[in-house]
Structures are given as structure tokens and as C-alpha cells.
Amino acid sequence: MDTIIIDGLSFALPLFIMAIGGIYSEKSGITNLALEGFQGFGAFIGAMSAVLIANASGAAIEDMFYVALLFAMIGGMGFSIIHAVLSIKFKANQVISGVVINILALALTTFLTTQINALVFGAASDKFRLGVSERFTIDGLANIPVVGAVFTNVYPFQVIIVVIAIFAWYVLYKTKFGLRLRASGENPQSVDAAGVSVSKIRFSAVLISGLLSGLAGMCFAYSISAQFSSGIYMGYGFLAIAALIFGNWRILPTLGACLLFGFAKSGGMFIAQSMALPSSFTDLFMILPYVVTLMLLIFFSKSNRAPRALGEIYDKGKR
């Protein structure tokens, strides 16, 4: 039971923070299929900085954890500028832009990783080795039955994610900026009429989604994969999108969706292992999160509704 919670959380939280990024972008009216690309590119920049700085300073790669997180956020945000410019300034179709950005991110990062490895380390490898981040346990709280697992073997990034998520929730629902952002996705004309620039709000929303996705990508790199490679593009970005649609574009239900993914995933693994079945059966249990999601959606998606102006290019003249 404990392992299910521990592993489930370490998967669900990065997914959640990425989904929050998606919510910001989509609530402001910009369809964001590029989360996958943002997380990959962010993780690339983070991993590259960690590897290069560790190489230059002689420090251990594991100590570069926070540096990597920081650079990943910057990298993700930097890359998201492309989506913002294309879909806001260049009025490109947002779905197209998102897909293109994913393809470009995968191509660029794979190319640059081998290029940099060849240049700096003299070996043409297509990955940056990072190792797994260290974990910690909060002694007193960890002893509580069941709930204690939440405080056992925690990755430091999980704490960071929870703090950022609470802050993101506050900003979106309790501040003026959040109100304007949500209004841009429902009725941009009214935002414009109030004298606020719709494009500026949307621009910042996309950048936030890039920043959060970069963070998420780096967390995956430091936990599940222990390295940066094209394996980081495993479809987690699309999973985050599924989670936010499932969560009806609201932060708390989205958390529920992410936890469901995480626990179903770790639960499936756990069942497969504890039944001592041949390894091929793990595959069968891996479908649990997706089947459960579909089942639940059959009951819950009647009332699902996307932001009204989602995907629409804002045109001042239109009413």
C-alpha cells in the first residue's frame, strides 16, 4: 500500500504541475497541445546546464538538482515563447502550432544532445546522465498509518510542486490577474473593453505553462528516467492534457485526475509484481489508469465544458 502511494505521488505531482500550466494557457483561450514539447525542451535545458556546470566545476551531477530545476523552468518558458508568438502574434492555428512545437522540440533536443555530447565529452551519446534525486522522510509524520506514506521517501521536487501549485491556485482564482486571465478565455471582448490587453494576458499565460512544464519535465528526468533523452517524450504532456480536460479545466478536480493516473499506474505495477506473474502481464496492468479514466469520463463528462473562447484567435473587430 505504501509503495503505491509513494510511487503514485512521485508520478502524479509532476503531471499535476504540468496540467496546471495547461489550465493557465487554456483558461486564457490558447489551446495548448505543446505541453509535451515544453516539458521536453525544459528538461533538456535543465539537464544540459546541470551536466555542463558539473563538468566545468567538478561538482557531482547529483548536487546540480536545484540548478537543473531552475534552468528547466527558464528553458521551458523560453521555448513556450514560440507557441505564444505563433498563436497570438502570428495568428496561427493553435492546434497546428502545438503539434509543430512538439515535433520541433523532439528533433532539436535529440540533435543538440548528441552534438553537445560529442563536442564536450567526445562521445556521441544521445542522453545526459543525471542520476536519481535523493529522497527524504519526515520522521514523525511518516509513522501515521496509510497517510504516513505521503511523507515517506519524498523527492524534494514534490514539496516544491505543492508550494507552486497552491500559489498557482491562489493566483488563478483570487487575484485580479487570474480573473482577467479567465475572462480572456470566456469573453475576451469584455477584457478588452475594460482596457486590458488580451494578448498580453494570453502571452503571459502561455509562458507560465512553459515554465511549469519545464519544471515537470525536469522532475521526470530526475525520478523516473534518471537521465535526459528522447525517452522524456513519453506522452506525459498529452496525459497532462487529458487530466485537465478530465478535471474540467479546474485545478482541484485536475489534481484528482492526476492522482488517479498516478495511483492506478503504481497500483497496476504493484498488483503485477505481487502476483508474481510473468513480466508480460505488467503490460496488461499498465492499462489500468487509462481504462479507469475512460470509465469515469462516461459518467462525468456530460457537464464538461471548455472555455468559450478556447482556440479562437482574438479579433478586436469581432463581437
Partner: protein, 383 residues
Amino acid sequence: MSKDKKKTSLRYRLIWPLRNEKWQPISIPVASILVSFIAAAIIILLLGKNPFQAFYNLFQGAGILPKPTYAGYKSMFTDFLQLLNAMTPMVFASLAVAVALRAGLFNIGVSGQMLFSGFLATVIVGYSGLDAFIAKPLVLLVGMVAGGLMGGLVGWLKYKFNIHEVVTTIMFNYIAQYVISFFIHMYYIDPISRQSKYITEAARLTLVNVEIANLKMNIPLGFILAIAIAIIIKFLMDKTVVGFEIKAVGSNRDAAKYTGIKVGSNTVLAMVISGGLAGLAGVTYYLGYFGSIQPKVLTNIGFDSIAVALLGNAHPIGIIFSSFLISIIDQGSTYMSSQAGIRQEIASVIIGLILLFSACGAYVKHKVSRLKEKEVDRKDSES
């Protein structure tokens, strides 16, 4: 007259190939392809290599230009046929995306649908030992039906339960990937290649190593079908009631409903067609190009085809050209990499750049018309 011409602004004159609106659907993609090749050339220059050499090698590798030497039984023609072989699933997959797009639906599940239909066809026909004359059409039929059912289910879930097609298709991608991996590992694994066992020659949609005029070549039977289906889809979309209704639903759901078009059934129908095309992509890929299935891997074609469809303006004929171009870059990259000493991955960067620039098409159009207006205004005020 000559005085007038002098007054035309340089910027306006520079965009002359883009000015004719009738040609813009062709001229804008072509321009974006040119720009991205220039960008790629700059990257190659920065790496200290000769871009012309690299592009030349790229075309050589794809079978568009002759290589200096060939290994036994090969020529430019064999390379070119291999290019068509690789291009066939791409055309089908992009058509699948395009049909869904016309109905305002976004089919991210092409990869999953490809895998599902490829697997079913492999199991039902690929291992059956049926005669080629029965097996090959049966492969196509199974692929089309399997993909159509899976696509139809996505459409039905949307219509009946309001489940967003993006979520459904993503979930189905994962489910197909894992379930099929399970079955391959349990029943159909080849212990050496760690892939599913090879299908019989009779069921294969690519004729492998056919010897004609002292050349050994792979002949992709699906290619002719792909071109034919592209034309049929064009006819279906442009000239039939079905196509009109699907497009009407895609451009404005509410208006379509108001005029009495059945939005629900058209959504399902569009997804059935889209899934069926994805199924054809699947069988031409797994039972044509490859001959076996790698477990737990979704092909990238399903995702790349989204971009290929968009590069071709979601237009069937445009798609043939865009898949041709993307396949050239894909196929030629290995040879380019070995000859010019440039990493193979640069090919996918070029593809990414092409798609990026073509995504700006709407903006270019908008800019061109603005420049045009300005020009007219200026001429008016002068005269």
C-alpha cells in the same frame, strides 16, 4: 508607366510570388519550405559542413538523384521505390488526420489505430498461410474495418457522452500499446528479434526483393491504392452531400444543427472514415513496410502525420506532395549522415523547421493582403 513602377515599394516587389491569392495555397507552403531549407543550410554551415553537399546527399539517399556507386542489385530506382514504400503509410495517416480535421475533430489516435489494425491483420491474415490473392485484399479489409471501428468508437463516445476526442484517442493509444504488447509477448514473439514473428510473404503488402532487369527491389502495392484513395477522399469531401455535411459540422456545429444536419451521426461518420484510413496506414506500415510489429512502441507516423496533413492544407492532393517531401528528408537522412558527416537528427530538425514556418501561413497571407491594401491606397492618393 516606368515612373509608376519605380514608386512601388521594395517590400511589395519582393513578395511578388505570394501576391496572387489564387496561388497562395501553393506559394505559401513552397515559400516556407524554401525558408526552412535556408535556415537548415545556415545550421549546417555553422557545423562547418557544406550545405549543398548535404542536400545533394539527402536527395541521393532518397532515390531522387543517383548515387556514385550502388551495392549489388541496386540502383536509384530501388531507392526510389523504397521511398514510396515509406511514404505510403504517411499518406494514409495524413488523410486520416485531414478528414477528422474537416469535421472539426482532432485525431491524435492515428498511431493507436494503426497499431490496432496492423496487429489484427497480422494475427488474422499475416500468420494464416492464405493464398496471396485472398490474403492481400483481406489484409486491407481487416485493417480498414478495425481502424474504422476504433475511430467510430471515439466518435460515438463524443456524441453519446461528450467525451473529448483528444482524451479518448490518447487513452486508446496507451491501451492499444500495452494490450497488444501483452499479446505479442505471450503468443507471437520471435525470441531473436524481440518483435512479433514475421508475416507470410503472401500477406505482405510490399513485394520484397522482386528481381526485375537484374535489380532487386521492394514494390509497395499500397502506394497506388494510397493515391487512388486520396483522390476518392477529395471527391467525397468536395462533391458529395456526405462531405458537405461533415465540413459544415466542422466549420460551425451550431449552424449545422440549425440547418438540420445531424451533428452526432456526422461526427461518428467522420471518425469512422478517419479511423478506416488510419487502419490502412497501419496495414501498409506493419504488413507492408516492416512485416512485423515491435511491442510497446507506437509509431511516430501517427503524430508526424498531423503536421504533414497541415502542411498539405488538409487537402488530399496537397497531402500527397507534403508526404513526399517529408519522406524524402526522412529516407535520405541516413545516407546524408554517412556521406556528409552530419548527424542524422538534422533531418528531423529540417522537418520541424518546415512545419514551423508553414504554421505561419495565415500570418503571411494576412501580411501580404495588408501590404497590398497599402500599395493600393498609396497609388490612389498619388493619382
